[in-house]
């Protein structure tokens, strides 16, 4: 037994490397994931600053010009009303991204709460809650969404809710699975034996250990949601003019794709690239947060 009971000055303490720090180190080595992160950051900044940095005004039509191929004054060409495509794509991106984030946020909140409650309390509560999830899972959602959009008109708020309502199910399942696995871990038992309150255990022991899969899944939900929005807009059921999203732009592009292929190709690249980037980022996060892969 040492007689040293004086606390050490903190600079003598070895600093630990938390699992988050380890994950960041692993992520940095994954070039594709970093590329994805970079694209995401560029996209977010561009979307936020669009009203100030777009080369042309959103509505500016130039009917004399009509549709033109890419040129120096219009980097991505113009559409049949003479509107600058780069501007259109930037504004479209704003909308698509916004739908992506908000709908994902909706799905996240509902899903996490639902899954955490079901997973933590277990028993009958869990049985009932997951039964509901199972039933909803079995419903043909594509069909319902189409119906909803047609029936209730093209309300952008409803669009978010409808999309969020589809995605929360899987999030709930993932969170519930994690929480259940954690509940049986010995360190949670230890917390119980210390007499910690349920809320303290959830806050300090369960939630921090659930964040990993939640983050990964959230990053993968955003592109899924954006795809769904584009799909609906393409069918004419999503974002309505004068707003535009990438899905809508692709729709217009398809109509005139024989004569003006760039009207289809550029929005298409924008959408695909974004989905690409987010998926790689999500994959990279999944690998980085997996405790089995070493950081070395």
């Amino acid at each position: 037994m040492s007689k040293n009971t004086v606390s050490l000055p903190s600079k003598e303490l070895a600093s630990g490397s938390s699992l988050w720090q380890d994950a960041w180190i692993k992520l940095r080595k994954n070039h594709l994931a970093l590329f994805g992160l970079g694209v995401l950051i560029v996209l977010i900044i561009s979307s936020l600053l669009t009203p100030w940095i777009a080369p042309y005004s959103y509505e500016a039509q130039n009917l004399d010009l009509g549709a033109t191929a890419p040129s120096v004054s219009h980097w991505l060409g113009t559409d049949i009303f003479g509107r600058d495509m780069l501007t259109r794509i930037m504004y479209g991106g704003r909308v698509s991204l916004m739908v992506g984030f908000i709908a994902t946020a909706v799905a996240l909140i509902i899903g996490i709460l639902w899954g955490a409650v079901a997973g933590f309390f277990g028993g009958k509560i869990d049985a009932i809650m997951m039964r509901i999830v199972d039933i909803l899972y079995a419903l043909p959602f594509m069909i319902f969404i189409v119906l909803l959009m047609v029936v209730f008109g093209r309300n952008i708020l409803l669009l978010f809710l409808a999309i969020g309502a589809v995605e929360w199910l899987t999030m709930a399942r993932i969170v519930r699975g994690q929480v259940m696995a954690l509940r049986n871990q010995e360190f949670v038992e230890a917390a119980n034996s210390l007499g910690l309150s349920q809320w303290t255990i959830i806050r300090r022991h369960i939630i921090p250990n659930t964040l990993g899969p939640v983050i990964v899944y959230t990053t993968l939900t955003i592109p899924s949601v954006m795809l769904l929005e584009a799909f609906l807009s393409f069918l004419g059921l999503g974002i309505q003019p004068p707003e535009s999203s990438w899905g809508l732009l692709i729709n217009y592009g398809v109509e005139t794709m024989e004569e003006y292929p760039w009207l289809l190709i550029f929005p298409g690249i924008a959408l695909s690239l974004t989905l690409f980037a987010l998926n790689f980022l999500g994959d990279g996060l999944r690998d980085a947060l997996d405790p089995r892969t070493s950081k070395d």
């Binding site: 037994m1 040492s2 040293n4 009971t5 004086v6 606390s7 050490l8 003598e12 303490l13 070895a14 600093s15 630990g16 490397s17 938390s18 699992l19 871990q185 010995e186 360190f187 038992e189 230890a190 917390a191 119980n192 034996s193 210390l194 007499g195 910690l196 309150s197 303290t200 300090r204 022991h205 921090p208 250990n209 405790p291 070493s294 070395d296």
Partner: protein
């Protein structure tokens, strides 16, 4: 005539963090009919050595850097893929530690048995399914599977652990190999089953005259089964010799350390129990769980704890012994109110605990704590050592923000951790160090009663000894009462004043440790005690002779 000769074997792993010398200049030989034991702790390289003989290592990180391995004169390290297949099929067989994961769950046992015969690399030696089936059934019978022709069509999950291992042995021997490598085959099995499997292997070796390489960390097992022993540490061989020489006349420091670390004999420290003052009283405790897969009234409940009554006196260390499925862990948790009680009661210091609400239970929580088995799962991976150790102190008001750091540092001292590590995370420590952290957390609130649930079972033998000593020292210093749960009888004997034997939810026998050891009354206890391997070759030999 040595059937296998290994000379100067070097296997290195090329990781991004540098080169790991898993096997470094290892040489040994085995003769037909002989059993060579390779002994070492985890990370010693014993498994890697044998896997490299059969080219079973993942080749990108692993590379055979040098040395030779000759099987009957043929080189194993420099042969073609075709030749290696023949060696794997005809000459050398291997059985692994965990039979549940080593058998394909999607194929019947019979199908897996027949494969080496039906798909033999040499087309001339392939056999028809009918003949292969006959041979397989005969072999299942030989290894002791009852109803072999029926069991031929069963799947692995329909067998118990011991039975699965028998199936693996049959599968290994079906092509009549000349060398059998056993990689810790009994480590995952209960002690009584372990004894059976070891006997089976010895018997098969005699009838078939095969050479056996037996890898193990358990010196007791090795004492009973080996003719020659090789001791490995960190990839190198520390000592080679015949069994008696290693156990009785070793000159190597590491071997001495290994032998000394095995808990042996009776408890040395004095019994400090106050026999008339009962701290914990358990009265007809029952904990039943609903059986999800019940088919009728008979098995509607899993009776984990089925009517247990016992008394733990203040100051005593009570050992709770049982095999897997006996319910010992559930009992420990039920006493601590961490598992539900179906009926019966638990009393602590004259206060009945069963039936109290969480709030009422709170002031009692700090007086009773638990040390868990798995040092990797019992610490929150996202909390530093400081956070883990300060949590109980702060939550129970035993320290405030100003005083807690000092107390945590003192705690770390008490459990033998370097104070500078306070801000590190669990995954940055070794298994033994993590267990120290867990022990620190358990004693932080200065409890009176601690339940230790298999606290050293997941640790290497040399670390086990250190942790056991730490536990004993803490019990002494803080005047603790302890219930020590384990399946390892030698450890229990070393540490407990009294012992209680549990089987399938009920108490089979109880009494003072030495009394139970020298005079077991119940059959189950006798079976259990006779199955324990002792690290003493002479006594093992005489015991085996008695059984044959």
């Amino acid at each position: 005539m040595a059937i296998l000769e290994v000379n100067g074997l070097k296997v290195y792993f090329h990781t991004r963090n540098g080169v790991v010398k898993a096997v470094d200049n290892v040489s040994f030989s085995v003769d037909s009919g002989e059993t060579l034991a390779i002994v070492g702790e985890s990370g010693s390289g014993k498994s890697v050595t044998c896997y490299s003989l059969l080219d079973l290592l993942p080749k990108p990180p692993a590379k055979i850097e040098g040395g030779s391995a000759l099987f009957n004169g043929d080189s194993l390290l420099n042969c073609s893929k075709e030749e290696m297949r023949k060696h794997r099929c005809d000459d050398i067989a291997i059985i692994f530690q965990d039979p549940m994961t080593s058998l394909n769950p999607y194929l019947t046992v019979g199908e897996q048995l027949m494969e080496p015969l039906v798909h033999h690399p040499d087309p001339a030696r392939r056999q028809s399914r009918a003949i292969a089936k006959e041979k397989a059934i005969k072999l299942l019978d030989e290894v002791g599977i009852i109803n072999p022709s029926l069991r031929f069509d069963s799947y692995p999950h329909e067998f118990s652990g011991g039975m699965r291992q028998r199936v693996m042995i049959a599968m290994a021997l079906i092509t009549e190999p000349k060398l059998l490598i056993c990689d810790e085959p009994t480590t995952a099995l209960d002690v009584t089953i372990q004894a059976q499997i070891l006997r089976l292997i010895k018997q098969l070796q005699k009838t078939r005259n095969v050479a056996v390489i037996f890898i193990s960390h358990d010196l007791g097992v090795v004492a009973g089964i080996a003719d020659k022993v090789v001791v490995m540490c960190n990839g190198t061989i520390r000592e080679t010799g015949d069994t008696d020489g290693i156990f009785y006349n070793t000159s190597d420091d590491y071997t001495k350390k290994l032998l000394a670390a095995i808990p042996e004999g009776a408890k040395v420290l004095p019994n400090r129990s106050h026999a008339d003052s009962s701290l914990v009283k358990v009265d007809n405790l029952k904990t039943y769980f609903k059986n999800q897969r019940s088919t009728g009234e008979q098995d509607r409940y899993v009776k984990a704890v089925d009517g247990i009554s016992l008394n733990i006196a203040r100051g005593e260390i009570l050992g709770l012994v049982g095999e897997s499925g006996s319910g010992k862990s559930t009992l420990g948790r039920a006493i601590l109110q961490l598992a539900p009680t179906t009926s019966g009661s638990v009393t602590f210091q004259d206060q009945q605990l069963t039936g109290l609400s969480a709030q009422q239970l709170f002031p009692w929580r700090r007086k009773m704590q638990m040390i868990f088995q798995d040092p990797y799962a019992s610490l929150n991976p996202r909390m530093t050592v400081f956070e883990t150790l300060s949590e109980p102190l702060l939550y129970h008001g035993l320290a405030n923000k100003k005083t807690v750091t000092q107390q945590v540092l003192q705690l770390m001292d008490d459990v033998g951790l370097s104070q500078a590590q306070m801000r590190k995370y669990p995954h940055e420590f070794s298994g033994g160090q993590r267990q120290r952290i867990a022990i620190g957390r358990a004693v932080a609130t200065k409890p009176e009663f601690i339940i230790a649930d298999e606290p050293v079972s997941a640790l290497d033998v040399t670390i086990q000894a250190q942790i056991l000593d730490l536990i004993l020292a803490l019990v002494e210093r803080h005047d603790l009462t302890m219930m020590f749960i384990s399946h390892d009888l030698s450890v229990v004997r070393y540490i407990s004043d009294r012992v209680v034997i549990m089987n399938q939810g009920v108490l089979v026998e109880q009494g003072s440790t030495e009394a139970v050891w020298s005079n077991p009354e119940q059959d189950y206890t006798k079976k259990l005690l006779s199955a324990i391997p002792v690290a003493d070759p002479r006594s093992e030999r005489s015991r085996n002779a008695l059984l044959d």
